[in-house]
Symmetry: C2
Subunit: 341 residues, 2 copies
DNA sequence: TGACTTGATGTTAGCGCGATCCCACGGCCT
DNA sequence: AGGCCGTGGGATCGCGCTAACATCAAGTCA
């Protein structure tokens, strides 16, 4: 209560207040077993009374252990990543590890910067989105000597462990479903981001599958920024104006897909009879739409969970043989906007 | 390249590699001016060659300075908070401060835990959502001796500084607009969360304003969990079934409002003639809806920005007189779902 | 009874850095 | 020549904590 000097509290203050050594206080506060019940209570009372908050900086330096796991992702407003975070948190909550997030905005330079900052806190592990990183980033991750799990994607080479889906294969699967449903004139809409490698791989997979069936993408458009729902609406309108004979529209994410769906329904266009639609990601949002948009679940929460589990296991037992390549299988849901053959 | 032992690198390694003292290396890596150009280059080359990443833990302990700002918010999937984060980041990016986020899930106990963890890293400042905190949390914040900005809300007493809007007044304003438009039979839908104080205050403000005009909320329903869009749809259907003569529906957030709007449009109900609608928050999503939902902008990005600015100012100059109570004014947009008198 | 455990606590020595003070050297003035 | 500065760089200490060992009383067993 006496805020006289407000000099930050240290172990010593608690030790003086409770009449035992600093070491004993440290032991009590870390729940180490070899302290008598009486002392423990005395110390805890003193600590609470003073309002002592341990200094993890000093603790980490002394013990050479930091209970943080760096999580590096491109964005938080993408829906997908908060869900991945949920998966990660669920697992880490049962341990004494804590996630710390860094955002890259899909920029390799920023990823490098964020990673550097993160590593300078010496985390116990890193979970990082994607397999594409600058040479410097890869070098840092390798040199850090800690478990590293690359998530979301498995189409490429991992530094250490990887958990994700094959976006190329997901795109192929969608392409095949489009062919099987008999659509011929395909339009594609997606983000402009040349740096969203996963969206690119999905697109490549899809075009490849379509090509096998002798079908090409008849029109395409890319956007950046703005409200995704509104963009989906606008792009759809523009594309159908430009290329009126399209019979299928593929969107690189559910949000613009939903915008397109709303537009088509307003126009009284028969979906999926006249035009079929598909998005990607299986976001929860879709459940409230007038029609269920066809989509592919990207296994977001599960990716986070598995990644965190790998980290936890590796930290508990550093010499575990790698075992770190988990490929999950996204499932295509046809919803009400993609004919099922 | 020789990863022989992979013992973590320290200043000493760089110092030996470059033939100067550790102190000089430290000076170079912190861009301190009193080092000759020649030495500087030599050191930087050695550091890069070794792939040295400074240890901030040691640095922070030695300098008693940590360039982190704790940001404690209830959720990341609420749309609102990522936008607040954006505002914060934009400001902090021009400084050497870095935000670190903690999530409370709207639970006071978790807030307390997260805060404790956060403070144990001795951040330079804290931005925390809401004005309602446990006694222990308030005590910790006060005792930390660092700038604290409580955001989102100004209806209550702040520990240190506060930036936000008056949710009570926002609710009142909406209530008045509803009255002015001549609606009489009001239905309300919102989240169940007894702990979302801001939603509660908005509701109270609205009912209070309505009461002044002799109007009561005729029906209400609260939900928790699930897809907000779908919930809005379901609750709206259920409420109109139960109380068919409602002529206005107020939603505690835009997402469920959007669900309700989609449902009403499908049912061919005249909005806002037969039934008026309003949400809250002004999320970007709304722009893609068939009709613009009436809403109030909660000044999210601006709140984050102002809060970060206060933190930055206080850190730069700790004895600045408080100056820390910023009330922003939300603007009501009538959109296409609320008659304008 | 003495050698040996066991449990509870204290002592010492860093962890890797940065604040602070210190020194050596060259140039410049009087 | 002597004094004085400014510049580049080194030496020392301590930040607050914990690992590892040391200590010491009170059993425990042959």
């Amino acid at each position: 209560m006496s805020d006289t000097k407000s000099r930050p509290l240290t172990l010593r203050d608690v030790s003086e207040a409770s009449g035992v050594s600093e070491m004993t206080v440290s032991r009590v506060l870390r729940n180490r077993s070899d302290v008598s019940q009486a002392t423990r209570e005395k110390v805890l009372a003193a600590a609470k009374q003073l309002g002592y908050v341990p200094n993890k900086i000093a603790g980490a330096l002394a013990s050479q252990r930091v209970n943080l796991v760096g999580v590096i992702i491109p964005s938080m407003s993408n829906m997908v990543f908060p869900e991945v975070m949920t998966g990660i948190s669920r697992v880490l909550e049962d341990t004494d590890l804590q996630p710390v997030v860094g955002i890259t905005d899909y920029l390799p330079e920023k990823e490098e910067k964020v990673l550097f900052e993160m590593l300078s806190w010496r985390p116990s592990g890193v979970i990082i989105a994607g397999l594409e990183h600058s040479d410097a980033s890869r070098a840092m991750l390798r040199a850090a000597g800690i478990p590293v799990v690359e998530i979301m994607d498995v189409d490429g080479d991992a530094i250490d462990a990887a958990v994700g889906i094959s976006h190329r294969r997901a795109g192929q699967q969608l392409g095949e479903a489009i062919l099987a449903a008999g659509y011929k004139r395909i339009g594609f809409m997606g983000t402009k981001m040349p740096l969203d490698h996963r969206a690119r791989k999905r697109f490549e997979g899809m075009t490849q599958a379509l090509a096998k069936g002798g079908v090409e993408v008849a029109d395409q458009e890319f956007y950046s920024g703005g409200s995704a729902l509104a963009k989906g609406r606008e792009m759809t309108a523009a594309m159908l104006e430009r290329t009126p004979d399209l019979d299928f529209l593929a969107y690189s994410n559910d949000m613009i897909g939903a915008g397109g769906l709303l537009y088509l329904m307003e126009q009284g266009i028969d979906v999926p009879g006249q035009i079929g639609l598909a998005g990607f990601n299986g976001v929860e949002l879709l459940q409230g739409l007038p029609k269920q948009l066809a989509t592919m679940d990207a296994c977001r929460a599960e990716i986070g969970q598995k990644a965190a589990e790998i980290i936890v296991k590796r930290i508990a037992n550093p010499d575990t043989a790698a075992s770190g390549h988990v490929e999950l299988t996204p499932t295509l849901s046809f919803g009400d906007t993609l004919r099922q053959s």
